[in-house]
Amino acid sequence: MAPDKNLLERWRAAEILLFGGSAGSFKILFRIVKDLSETFGKAVILVIHRKKNFFSEIEKLFAENSRMYMREIEDKDILKKNTMYIAPANYHTLIEEGGYFSLDVSEAVWYSKPSIDVTFESAAEVYGSKCVAILLSGANQDGANGMLKIRESGGLTIAQAPEDAEMPEMPRSAINNGGAEYVLTQDEIFKLLLS
Protein backbone atom coordinates (compact mmCIF):
# COMPACT_ATOMS: atom_id res chain seq x y z
CA MET A 1 0.00 0.00 0.00
CA ALA A 2 1.38 3.33 -0.98
CA PRO A 3 1.43 5.46 2.15
CA ASP A 4 -1.57 7.67 1.69
CA LYS A 5 -1.54 10.63 4.00
CA ASN A 6 -5.21 11.43 3.55
CA LEU A 7 -6.21 7.86 4.40
CA LEU A 8 -4.02 7.69 7.49
CA GLU A 9 -5.07 11.04 8.87
CA ARG A 10 -8.75 10.33 8.53
CA TRP A 11 -8.26 6.84 9.92
CA ARG A 12 -6.65 8.28 13.03
CA ALA A 13 -9.36 10.88 13.51
CA ALA A 14 -12.23 8.38 13.27
CA GLU A 15 -14.08 7.27 16.39
CA ILE A 16 -16.34 4.58 15.01
CA LEU A 17 -15.16 1.64 12.92
CA LEU A 18 -17.86 -0.37 11.15
CA PHE A 19 -17.47 -3.68 9.36
CA GLY A 20 -20.00 -5.26 7.03
CA GLY A 21 -19.48 -8.92 6.17
CA SER A 22 -21.44 -11.69 4.53
CA ALA A 23 -20.59 -14.93 2.74
CA GLY A 24 -16.84 -15.50 2.68
CA SER A 25 -16.01 -12.89 5.31
CA PHE A 26 -15.77 -15.13 8.35
CA LYS A 27 -12.00 -15.77 8.23
CA ILE A 28 -11.05 -12.15 7.90
CA LEU A 29 -13.54 -11.09 10.60
CA PHE A 30 -12.17 -13.72 12.94
CA ARG A 31 -8.66 -12.37 12.38
CA ILE A 32 -9.90 -8.83 13.07
CA VAL A 33 -11.50 -9.98 16.31
CA LYS A 34 -8.25 -11.64 17.38
CA ASP A 35 -5.90 -8.86 16.29
CA LEU A 36 -7.49 -5.61 17.46
CA SER A 37 -6.11 -4.71 20.85
CA GLU A 38 -7.99 -3.67 23.97
CA THR A 39 -6.52 -0.18 23.61
CA PHE A 40 -7.53 0.19 19.97
CA GLY A 41 -9.14 3.55 20.71
CA LYS A 42 -12.32 3.32 18.63
CA ALA A 43 -15.71 1.69 19.02
CA VAL A 44 -15.98 -1.25 16.60
CA ILE A 45 -19.30 -2.46 15.19
CA LEU A 46 -19.62 -5.73 13.28
CA VAL A 47 -22.66 -6.33 11.08
CA ILE A 48 -22.61 -9.88 9.77
CA HIS A 49 -25.26 -11.73 7.79
CA ARG A 50 -26.18 -15.05 9.33
CA LYS A 51 -29.05 -17.43 9.87
CA LYS A 52 -31.39 -16.49 12.69
CA ASN A 53 -31.67 -19.66 14.74
CA PHE A 54 -27.96 -20.37 14.97
CA PHE A 55 -27.22 -17.21 16.89
CA SER A 56 -24.79 -18.16 19.60
CA GLU A 57 -22.14 -19.79 17.38
CA ILE A 58 -20.37 -16.79 15.86
CA GLU A 59 -20.90 -14.63 18.92
CA LYS A 60 -19.45 -17.28 21.21
CA LEU A 61 -16.44 -17.96 19.05
CA PHE A 62 -15.72 -14.25 18.68
CA ALA A 63 -16.21 -13.50 22.36
CA GLU A 64 -13.82 -16.28 23.34
CA ASN A 65 -11.12 -15.01 21.01
CA SER A 66 -11.36 -11.25 21.15
CA ARG A 67 -8.87 -9.07 22.99
CA MET A 68 -11.27 -6.15 23.05
CA TYR A 69 -14.36 -6.27 25.28
CA MET A 70 -16.95 -7.85 23.05
CA ARG A 71 -20.68 -7.54 23.35
CA GLU A 72 -23.73 -8.58 21.38
CA ILE A 73 -25.76 -5.38 21.12
CA GLU A 74 -28.78 -5.05 23.38
CA ASP A 75 -31.46 -2.41 23.25
CA LYS A 76 -30.16 1.08 24.29
CA ASP A 77 -26.54 -0.01 24.82
CA ILE A 78 -24.27 3.04 24.89
CA LEU A 79 -21.42 3.19 22.35
CA LYS A 80 -18.03 3.18 24.03
CA LYS A 81 -14.54 3.11 22.60
CA ASN A 82 -12.38 0.01 22.93
CA THR A 83 -15.50 -2.10 22.74
CA MET A 84 -16.43 -4.43 19.93
CA TYR A 85 -20.16 -4.68 19.25
CA ILE A 86 -21.81 -7.35 17.18
CA ALA A 87 -25.23 -6.68 15.67
CA PRO A 88 -27.65 -9.39 16.85
CA ALA A 89 -29.23 -11.79 14.37
CA ASN A 90 -32.86 -11.20 13.36
CA TYR A 91 -32.77 -7.47 14.29
CA HIS A 92 -31.62 -4.35 12.50
CA THR A 93 -29.24 -2.22 14.54
CA LEU A 94 -29.67 1.56 14.47
CA ILE A 95 -27.62 4.28 16.12
CA GLU A 96 -29.40 7.11 17.91
CA GLU A 97 -28.43 10.75 18.28
CA GLY A 98 -26.76 10.77 21.68
CA GLY A 99 -24.60 7.74 20.97
CA TYR A 100 -26.62 4.65 21.81
CA PHE A 101 -28.04 1.74 19.89
CA SER A 102 -31.66 0.92 19.21
CA LEU A 103 -32.90 -2.27 17.60
CA ASP A 104 -35.62 -2.83 15.06
CA VAL A 105 -37.37 -5.99 13.82
CA SER A 106 -38.82 -4.46 10.65
CA GLU A 107 -38.64 -6.01 7.17
CA ALA A 108 -35.36 -7.52 5.97
CA VAL A 109 -33.34 -5.34 3.59
CA TRP A 110 -31.70 -7.21 0.71
CA TYR A 111 -33.07 -10.36 2.38
CA SER A 112 -30.90 -9.55 5.37
CA LYS A 113 -31.59 -8.84 9.03
CA PRO A 114 -29.25 -7.45 10.27
CA SER A 115 -28.83 -5.30 7.20
CA ILE A 116 -25.48 -3.58 6.72
CA ASP A 117 -27.17 -0.69 4.89
CA VAL A 118 -29.44 0.07 7.84
CA THR A 119 -26.60 0.31 10.36
CA PHE A 120 -24.21 2.16 8.04
CA GLU A 121 -26.84 4.73 7.05
CA SER A 122 -27.76 5.32 10.63
CA ALA A 123 -24.07 5.68 11.62
CA ALA A 124 -23.61 8.21 8.79
CA GLU A 125 -26.47 10.32 10.14
CA VAL A 126 -25.14 10.45 13.68
CA TYR A 127 -21.37 10.23 13.29
CA GLY A 128 -20.71 11.40 9.71
CA SER A 129 -17.03 12.11 9.23
CA LYS A 130 -16.11 10.27 12.43
CA CYS A 131 -16.95 6.93 10.77
CA VAL A 132 -14.74 4.45 8.99
CA ALA A 133 -16.66 1.68 7.21
CA ILE A 134 -15.05 -1.41 5.74
CA LEU A 135 -17.12 -3.65 3.49
CA LEU A 136 -15.90 -7.23 3.14
CA SER A 137 -16.71 -10.30 1.07
CA GLY A 138 -20.35 -11.11 0.35
CA ALA A 139 -22.72 -12.40 -2.30
CA ASN A 140 -25.34 -9.66 -2.38
CA GLN A 141 -25.46 -5.88 -2.54
CA ASP A 142 -26.28 -5.00 1.04
CA GLY A 143 -23.90 -2.35 2.33
CA ALA A 144 -23.36 -0.44 -0.92
CA ASN A 145 -25.99 2.23 -0.14
CA GLY A 146 -24.74 2.53 3.41
CA MET A 147 -21.15 3.00 2.22
CA LEU A 148 -22.28 5.74 -0.14
CA LYS A 149 -24.16 7.47 2.65
CA ILE A 150 -21.11 7.39 4.93
CA ARG A 151 -18.89 8.66 2.14
CA GLU A 152 -21.31 11.51 1.38
CA SER A 153 -21.32 12.42 5.06
CA GLY A 154 -17.55 12.77 5.04
CA GLY A 155 -16.70 9.36 6.50
CA LEU A 156 -13.94 7.10 5.24
CA THR A 157 -15.12 4.08 3.23
CA ILE A 158 -13.06 1.08 2.21
CA ALA A 159 -14.12 -1.93 0.14
CA GLN A 160 -12.18 -5.15 0.17
CA ALA A 161 -10.67 -5.63 -3.30
CA PRO A 162 -13.13 -7.88 -5.17
CA GLU A 163 -10.36 -10.09 -6.60
CA ASP A 164 -9.12 -10.58 -3.05
CA ALA A 165 -12.58 -11.46 -1.63
CA GLU A 166 -14.06 -14.97 -1.61
CA MET A 167 -17.35 -13.48 -2.79
CA PRO A 168 -16.71 -10.31 -4.78
CA GLU A 169 -20.26 -9.05 -5.31
CA MET A 170 -20.75 -7.09 -2.10
CA PRO A 171 -17.58 -4.98 -2.23
CA ARG A 172 -17.98 -4.64 -6.00
CA SER A 173 -21.47 -3.15 -5.57
CA ALA A 174 -20.02 -0.49 -3.29
CA ILE A 175 -17.28 0.27 -5.81
CA ASN A 176 -19.80 0.48 -8.66
CA ASN A 177 -22.16 2.89 -6.90
CA GLY A 178 -19.32 5.13 -5.79
CA GLY A 179 -19.62 4.16 -2.14
CA ALA A 180 -16.03 2.97 -1.78
CA GLU A 181 -13.45 5.71 -1.53
CA TYR A 182 -10.61 3.20 -1.18
CA VAL A 183 -10.24 -0.37 -2.41
CA LEU A 184 -7.78 -2.40 -0.37
CA THR A 185 -6.69 -6.02 -0.12
CA GLN A 186 -6.93 -7.98 3.12
CA ASP A 187 -3.26 -7.37 3.85
CA GLU A 188 -3.59 -3.65 3.26
CA ILE A 189 -6.66 -3.53 5.49
CA PHE A 190 -4.72 -5.22 8.29
CA LYS A 191 -1.78 -2.86 7.88
CA LEU A 192 -4.20 0.02 8.38
CA LEU A 193 -5.99 -1.62 11.33
CA LEU A 194 -2.70 -2.22 13.12
CA SER A 195 -1.02 1.06 12.17
Binding site: D75, E96, V105, S106, D117, E121
Partner: protein, 276 residues
Protein backbone atom coordinates in the same frame (compact mmCIF):
# COMPACT_ATOMS: atom_id res chain seq x y z
CA UNK B 1 -35.43 -1.39 -1.37
CA UNK B 2 -34.18 2.09 -0.79
CA UNK B 3 -33.49 2.75 2.84
CA UNK B 4 -32.24 6.28 2.31
CA UNK B 5 -32.71 8.32 5.45
CA UNK B 6 -31.89 11.71 4.06
CA UNK B 7 -35.44 12.66 2.99
CA UNK B 8 -36.34 14.11 6.34
CA UNK B 9 -34.38 15.96 9.00
CA UNK B 10 -34.44 15.43 12.75
CA UNK B 11 -36.25 18.74 13.22
CA UNK B 12 -38.92 17.69 10.72
CA UNK B 13 -39.42 14.43 12.60
CA UNK B 14 -40.19 16.47 15.72
CA UNK B 15 -42.54 18.68 13.75
CA UNK B 16 -44.53 15.64 12.58
CA UNK B 17 -44.61 14.18 16.09
CA UNK B 18 -46.15 17.46 17.20
CA UNK B 19 -48.78 17.46 14.45
CA UNK B 20 -49.77 13.84 15.08
CA UNK B 21 -50.21 14.60 18.76
CA UNK B 22 -52.27 17.74 18.24
CA UNK B 23 -54.44 16.49 15.39
CA UNK B 24 -54.81 12.81 16.18
CA UNK B 25 -54.01 12.49 19.87
CA UNK B 26 -51.24 9.90 19.44
CA UNK B 27 -48.02 10.71 21.23
CA UNK B 28 -44.86 9.44 19.53
CA UNK B 29 -42.47 11.65 21.49
CA UNK B 30 -41.14 8.68 23.43
CA UNK B 31 -40.37 6.61 20.34
CA UNK B 32 -36.74 6.14 19.30
CA UNK B 33 -35.92 8.67 16.63
CA UNK B 34 -33.71 6.64 14.28
CA UNK B 35 -36.41 4.03 13.80
CA UNK B 36 -39.16 6.65 13.52
CA UNK B 37 -37.14 8.43 10.88
CA UNK B 38 -36.73 5.22 8.89
CA UNK B 39 -40.47 4.57 9.02
CA UNK B 40 -41.31 8.12 8.00
CA UNK B 41 -38.87 7.90 5.10
CA UNK B 42 -40.49 4.65 4.06
CA UNK B 43 -43.97 6.22 4.11
CA UNK B 44 -42.71 9.12 2.02
CA UNK B 45 -41.11 6.80 -0.54
CA UNK B 46 -44.18 4.53 -0.74
CA UNK B 47 -46.49 7.47 -1.33
CA UNK B 48 -43.98 9.53 -3.35
CA UNK B 49 -44.37 12.31 -0.79
CA UNK B 50 -42.15 15.26 -0.04
CA UNK B 51 -42.09 16.34 3.58
CA UNK B 52 -44.74 18.98 2.93
CA UNK B 53 -47.08 16.48 1.27
CA UNK B 54 -46.85 14.24 4.30
CA UNK B 55 -47.47 17.17 6.62
CA UNK B 56 -50.46 18.20 4.55
CA UNK B 57 -52.20 14.82 4.54
CA UNK B 58 -51.53 14.31 8.23
CA UNK B 59 -53.38 17.52 8.97
CA UNK B 60 -56.12 17.38 6.36
CA UNK B 61 -56.80 13.78 5.40
CA UNK B 62 -58.39 11.85 8.28
CA UNK B 63 -58.49 8.57 6.34
CA UNK B 64 -54.78 8.68 5.69
CA UNK B 65 -54.00 8.54 9.39
CA UNK B 66 -55.10 4.92 9.85
CA UNK B 67 -52.77 3.95 7.06
CA UNK B 68 -50.03 6.10 8.59
CA UNK B 69 -50.47 4.41 11.96
CA UNK B 70 -50.10 1.03 10.32
CA UNK B 71 -46.90 2.02 8.56
CA UNK B 72 -45.28 4.01 11.35
CA UNK B 73 -45.35 1.09 13.78
CA UNK B 74 -43.44 -2.05 12.90
CA UNK B 75 -45.81 -4.96 12.39
CA UNK B 76 -43.30 -7.62 11.46
CA UNK B 77 -43.82 -10.63 13.69
CA UNK B 78 -43.44 -14.41 13.61
CA UNK B 79 -44.96 -17.37 15.33
CA UNK B 80 -42.61 -18.80 17.94
CA UNK B 81 -40.00 -16.11 17.36
CA UNK B 82 -37.01 -17.04 19.57
CA UNK B 83 -37.94 -20.69 20.19
CA UNK B 84 -35.73 -20.76 23.28
CA UNK B 85 -38.07 -18.21 24.86
CA UNK B 86 -41.08 -20.51 24.49
CA UNK B 87 -39.03 -23.35 25.89
CA UNK B 88 -38.20 -21.22 28.91
CA UNK B 89 -41.83 -20.17 29.42
CA UNK B 90 -42.83 -23.82 29.32
CA UNK B 91 -40.25 -24.75 31.94
CA UNK B 92 -40.34 -21.70 34.22
CA UNK B 93 -43.71 -19.96 33.92
CA UNK B 94 -46.22 -22.68 32.99
CA UNK B 95 -45.88 -24.47 36.39
CA UNK B 96 -46.87 -21.19 38.06
CA UNK B 97 -49.76 -20.54 35.67
CA UNK B 98 -51.10 -24.04 36.25
CA UNK B 99 -51.67 -23.25 39.94
CA UNK B 100 -54.43 -20.87 38.91
CA UNK B 101 -58.01 -21.86 38.29
CA UNK B 102 -57.90 -19.52 35.37
CA UNK B 103 -54.71 -17.80 34.18
CA UNK B 104 -54.85 -14.51 32.30
CA UNK B 105 -52.10 -13.55 29.89
CA UNK B 106 -51.59 -10.19 28.21
CA UNK B 107 -49.68 -9.91 24.97
CA UNK B 108 -48.99 -6.18 24.66
CA UNK B 109 -48.21 -4.89 21.17
CA UNK B 110 -49.51 -8.05 19.56
CA UNK B 111 -49.72 -6.79 15.97
CA UNK B 112 -51.35 -9.40 13.71
CA UNK B 113 -51.64 -11.95 16.50
CA UNK B 114 -48.85 -14.44 15.79
CA UNK B 115 -47.51 -14.30 19.33
CA UNK B 116 -50.97 -14.60 20.88
CA UNK B 117 -51.67 -17.79 18.95
CA UNK B 118 -48.19 -19.14 19.65
CA UNK B 119 -48.95 -18.69 23.33
CA UNK B 120 -52.37 -20.29 22.92
CA UNK B 121 -50.72 -23.33 21.30
CA UNK B 122 -48.15 -23.50 24.09
CA UNK B 123 -50.90 -23.38 26.74
CA UNK B 124 -52.91 -26.04 24.99
CA UNK B 125 -49.90 -28.34 24.74
CA UNK B 126 -49.19 -27.75 28.44
CA UNK B 127 -52.73 -28.86 29.26
CA UNK B 128 -53.90 -25.35 30.16
CA UNK B 129 -56.02 -24.84 27.06
CA UNK B 130 -59.24 -24.55 29.07
CA UNK B 131 -57.60 -22.83 32.02
CA UNK B 132 -56.00 -19.88 30.32
CA UNK B 133 -57.07 -16.80 28.41
CA UNK B 134 -54.92 -14.52 26.28
CA UNK B 135 -55.57 -10.83 25.66
CA UNK B 136 -53.86 -9.30 22.65
CA UNK B 137 -53.63 -5.52 22.41
CA UNK B 138 -52.20 -3.06 19.93
CA UNK B 139 -52.68 0.62 19.06
CA UNK B 140 -53.61 -0.28 15.55
CA UNK B 141 -57.18 -1.38 14.75
CA UNK B 142 -56.24 -2.68 11.31
CA UNK B 143 -53.72 -5.25 12.55
CA UNK B 144 -56.17 -6.34 15.25
CA UNK B 145 -58.72 -7.09 12.57
CA UNK B 146 -56.18 -9.43 10.98
CA UNK B 147 -55.35 -10.93 14.36
CA UNK B 148 -59.01 -11.74 15.08
CA UNK B 149 -59.30 -13.62 11.80
CA UNK B 150 -56.44 -15.92 12.72
CA UNK B 151 -55.84 -16.72 9.07
CA UNK B 152 -52.29 -16.71 7.75
CA UNK B 153 -50.76 -17.64 4.46
CA UNK B 154 -49.65 -21.23 4.36
CA UNK B 155 -46.24 -20.10 3.13
CA UNK B 156 -45.77 -18.05 6.31
CA UNK B 157 -46.90 -20.85 8.56
CA UNK B 158 -44.46 -23.20 6.87
CA UNK B 159 -41.65 -20.72 7.50
CA UNK B 160 -42.46 -20.92 11.25
CA UNK B 161 -42.20 -24.71 11.23
CA UNK B 162 -38.49 -24.57 12.04
CA UNK B 163 -39.13 -22.29 15.03
CA UNK B 164 -41.78 -24.70 16.23
CA UNK B 165 -39.42 -27.68 16.07
CA UNK B 166 -36.86 -25.82 18.20
CA UNK B 167 -39.43 -25.14 20.95
CA UNK B 168 -39.58 -28.88 21.64
CA UNK B 169 -43.37 -28.97 21.35
CA UNK B 170 -44.67 -32.22 19.94
CA UNK B 171 -46.06 -32.63 16.44
CA UNK B 172 -45.87 -29.91 13.85
CA UNK B 173 -47.16 -26.35 13.69
CA UNK B 174 -49.66 -27.28 10.99
CA UNK B 175 -51.43 -29.55 13.52
CA UNK B 176 -52.95 -26.39 14.96
CA UNK B 177 -54.35 -25.06 11.71
CA UNK B 178 -57.03 -25.97 9.25
CA UNK B 179 -55.52 -25.63 5.82
CA UNK B 180 -57.51 -24.69 2.78
CA UNK B 181 -55.57 -24.04 -0.42
CA UNK B 182 -52.93 -21.50 0.55
CA UNK B 183 -54.59 -20.25 3.74
CA UNK B 184 -54.01 -21.62 7.23
CA UNK B 185 -56.74 -20.92 9.76
CA UNK B 186 -55.99 -21.32 13.46
CA UNK B 187 -58.19 -23.96 15.17
CA UNK B 188 -61.32 -22.59 16.76
CA UNK B 189 -60.60 -24.03 20.20
CA UNK B 190 -57.41 -21.91 20.26
CA UNK B 191 -59.19 -18.82 19.03
CA UNK B 192 -61.83 -19.14 21.72
CA UNK B 193 -59.22 -18.43 24.37
CA UNK B 194 -58.21 -15.09 22.92
CA UNK B 195 -59.52 -11.56 22.84
CA UNK B 196 -58.08 -8.71 20.80
CA UNK B 197 -58.65 -5.06 21.60
CA UNK B 198 -57.15 -1.61 21.17
CA UNK B 199 -54.81 -0.41 23.90
CA UNK B 200 -52.16 2.28 23.63
CA UNK B 201 -49.22 1.60 25.96
CA UNK B 202 -48.29 5.28 25.80
CA UNK B 203 -51.61 6.67 27.00
CA UNK B 204 -53.94 3.92 28.27
CA UNK B 205 -54.03 2.43 31.72
CA UNK B 206 -54.48 -0.81 33.65
CA UNK B 207 -57.48 -2.77 32.35
CA UNK B 208 -57.24 -6.14 34.08
CA UNK B 209 -55.06 -8.22 36.38
CA UNK B 210 -52.73 -10.74 34.78
CA UNK B 211 -50.63 -13.70 35.80
CA UNK B 212 -48.32 -13.11 32.88
CA UNK B 213 -47.55 -10.20 30.55
CA UNK B 214 -45.58 -10.65 27.37
CA UNK B 215 -44.31 -7.52 25.65
CA UNK B 216 -41.57 -8.54 23.28
CA UNK B 217 -39.75 -6.35 20.79
CA UNK B 218 -41.90 -3.35 21.63
CA UNK B 219 -39.54 -1.61 24.08
CA UNK B 220 -36.88 -1.44 21.35
CA UNK B 221 -38.97 1.33 19.78
CA UNK B 222 -39.26 3.32 22.99
CA UNK B 223 -36.88 5.70 24.75
CA UNK B 224 -35.85 4.75 28.27
CA UNK B 225 -38.23 7.17 30.04
CA UNK B 226 -41.21 5.72 28.20
CA UNK B 227 -40.05 2.16 28.90
CA UNK B 228 -40.04 2.99 32.60
CA UNK B 229 -43.52 4.44 32.49
CA UNK B 230 -44.76 1.27 30.84
CA UNK B 231 -42.91 -0.91 33.33
CA UNK B 232 -44.92 0.86 36.01
CA UNK B 233 -48.13 0.04 34.09
CA UNK B 234 -47.07 -3.62 33.81
CA UNK B 235 -46.17 -3.77 37.48
CA UNK B 236 -49.63 -2.52 38.42
CA UNK B 237 -51.27 -4.91 35.94
CA UNK B 238 -49.58 -8.03 37.33
CA UNK B 239 -50.90 -10.02 40.27
CA UNK B 240 -48.40 -10.66 43.09
CA UNK B 241 -45.63 -12.94 41.76
CA UNK B 242 -46.87 -12.54 38.19
CA UNK B 243 -44.43 -12.85 35.30
CA UNK B 244 -43.22 -10.26 32.80
CA UNK B 245 -41.55 -11.33 29.55
CA UNK B 246 -39.58 -8.87 27.44
CA UNK B 247 -37.80 -9.42 24.12
CA UNK B 248 -34.48 -11.26 24.07
CA UNK B 249 -32.50 -7.99 23.71
CA UNK B 250 -34.62 -5.95 26.13
CA UNK B 251 -33.48 -5.84 29.74
CA UNK B 252 -34.71 -3.94 32.76
CA UNK B 253 -31.87 -1.52 33.53
CA UNK B 254 -33.41 0.98 35.93
CA UNK B 255 -32.46 0.38 39.56
CA UNK B 256 -35.94 1.36 40.72
CA UNK B 257 -37.46 -1.52 38.74
CA UNK B 258 -34.67 -4.02 39.32
CA UNK B 259 -35.80 -4.29 42.94
CA UNK B 260 -39.42 -4.84 41.90
CA UNK B 261 -38.83 -7.39 39.16
CA UNK B 262 -36.77 -10.45 40.01
CA UNK B 263 -34.79 -11.99 37.15
CA UNK B 264 -36.08 -15.49 36.42
CA UNK B 265 -34.27 -16.04 33.15
CA UNK B 266 -31.47 -13.65 32.29
CA UNK B 267 -31.06 -14.74 28.69
CA UNK B 268 -34.75 -14.66 27.78
CA UNK B 269 -35.53 -11.62 29.93
CA UNK B 270 -38.26 -13.26 32.00
CA UNK B 271 -39.01 -11.44 35.27
CA UNK B 272 -41.24 -11.99 38.25
CA UNK B 273 -43.02 -9.24 40.15
CA UNK B 274 -41.92 -9.03 43.77
CA UNK B 275 -43.41 -6.88 46.53
CA UNK B 276 -46.78 -5.25 46.15
Amino acid sequence: MDTAQGLISQAQVFELIDIVKKVHGFDFAGYTKASLKRRLTRIMLLNKFEFYDLKHVLINDADFFQNFLEEITVNVTEMFRDPSFYKAVNAQVVPYLSTYQHAKIWSAGCSTGEEVYSMAILMKEAGLGKKSFIYGTDINTEVLREARKGIYSLRNIKSYAENYQYTGLKGSITDHFTILYDAASIHNELKQNTLFSVHNLVSDNVFNEFQMISCRNVFIYFETFLQERILELFYKSLCPLGYLCLGSKETIRSDAFKSRFKVINQKENIYQKVGT
